[in-house]
Amino acid sequence: MIHQYKMNGYNIVVDVYSGSVHAVDELAYDIIALFENHSADEIVAEMAKAHPETPESEVREVIGAVQGLKDAGKLFAPDIYADHAFDFKNRSTVVKALCLHVAHTCNLNCEYCFAAQGKFHGQAALMSFETGKRALDFLIENSGTRRNLEVDFFGGEPLMNWDVCKRLIQYARSIEKEKGKNFRFTLTTNGMNIDDDVIEFANKECHNVVLSLDGRKEIHDAKRVTASGKGSYDTIVPKFQKLVQARGGKGYYMRGTFTRENLDFTNDIFHMADLGFTELSMEPVVCAETEPYALRKEDLPVLFDQYELLAKDMLRREKEGHPITFYHYMLDLTGGPCVYKRISGCGSGTEYMAVTPTGELYPCHQFVGDPAYKMGDIWNGVTNTALRDEFKLCNAYARPDCKDCWARLYCSGGCAANAYHATGSIKGIYEYGCELFRKRMECAIMMQVAHQCDPALAAYANHAKGATGCDGCSACAD
């Protein structure tokens, strides 16, 4: 399976099963489109019409090159993974990541909160240190030989239970060497309670921090308000700036949510860049379709344009020497995930689970509070093993709707929670999410092509083959 598209002056061909990416000229683009279902002679005849100025010998040369790529397994590569995907039921899964809901309460009252303003439709609660400690022990006990263990502090608002977070981090550090583990902590926060203590401790101990900021003040304050309805932007932005400046290059993301009310979300991304934040993430709102701010089908063309605009602007910033990172456009074509990861997906319900303040286990934060999806608890472990098996089998190959999608090995089947909420089954797909994902993936791949093909971006090109800058191929439009 291949996917061909044109973007930003590049003609791009993605070969799904080999993971190969090719930048091609107009002639090769047209030939590739016909290659699978036409003979060489038929293609020559078509090209005589489409590219009358091109000699037949050259057309046949390109046909030969395409055949060469096919023979080398880089174009029209077959799907050899289907059988491996179904081995997943029998593989042993270990637990390697936990999302600790250290607080089912929040000091903000964000209108679109997926967690019903932090309480997940239940009672307000804070996780005790003992429960958190047991969660970490559970993680270690069930992690097999995995060395890297991830714990993120989530909620509600985790800083409402910051002392417990700190003590849990200290506990993990005190035992990780002896247990042969390496803990990586992430803190997600709305920023309201960031102070110097949080800055110092989080910057020392947290591999990553995720800072919730929607962008421009008027956009952010329309949704992210206190209980009395006051916007949080003025409070949190200076705190975020101070924390990020003190981070000394350690990873972080500003994480925004966009809704129908800011379809021009690139303006919010650019605003965050203007505030001095370079590591950016922006997600479409997850909510009921009936909400006035929910994204609609008719918004898709606008959003597609926004994603392209963002990619082009990021390339401009790179050329000018002040790049920004956009989470979804990060793509290392040479060092990215292996095919096992590409197929197996986010790991929810198997190697990654969420833990509530009272120690219950759920497949991920999006399922918390749904009794049908309770998996067990941290004392007895996963008791609903049938449910775990369901998630184990949930991957890019388990979803019938993914069969003909070119993005399946970049997306690995998408978010199980989104699928469940959209279709009633984790094996469904959230089509809207798929549309956005495919567009984002096209943009991310285009950026990699630009890095390779644009001489002004030579600093970003992959130098492994010693190729720098332009090699005179005509793959670019000008």
Binding site: S18, G19, S20, H22, A23, L27, A65, V66, G73, K74, K96, A97, C99, R146, N148, E150, D152, R184, T186, N208, V210, Y253, R255, S281, E283, P284, V286, Y327, H328, M330, L331, L333, G336, P337, C338, V339, Y340, K341, R342, G345, C346, S348, E351, Y352, H365, Q366, L409, Y410, S412, G414, C415, N418, G433, A444, Q448, N462, K465, G472, C473, A475
Partner: protein, 47 residues
């Protein structure tokens, strides 16, 4: 004249043999929590 430029990419088919160590980050841990893929993750195995 070079009509096709092939970018260097990880050999996915080969990773059937050398992949699957499981040390890479769980996608949701980073910045998403809603609509993740896996393509933007890094491989931890430097071999």
């Amino acid at each position: 004249m070079n009509h096709i430029q092939t970018l260097e990419t990880r050999d996915l088919a080969a990773s059937l043999n050398n992949g699957g160590c499981g040390e890479c980050q769980t996608s949701c841990q980073s910045a998403c929590k809603t609509s993740c893929g896996v393509a933007n993750q890094q491989c931890e195995n430097k071999n």
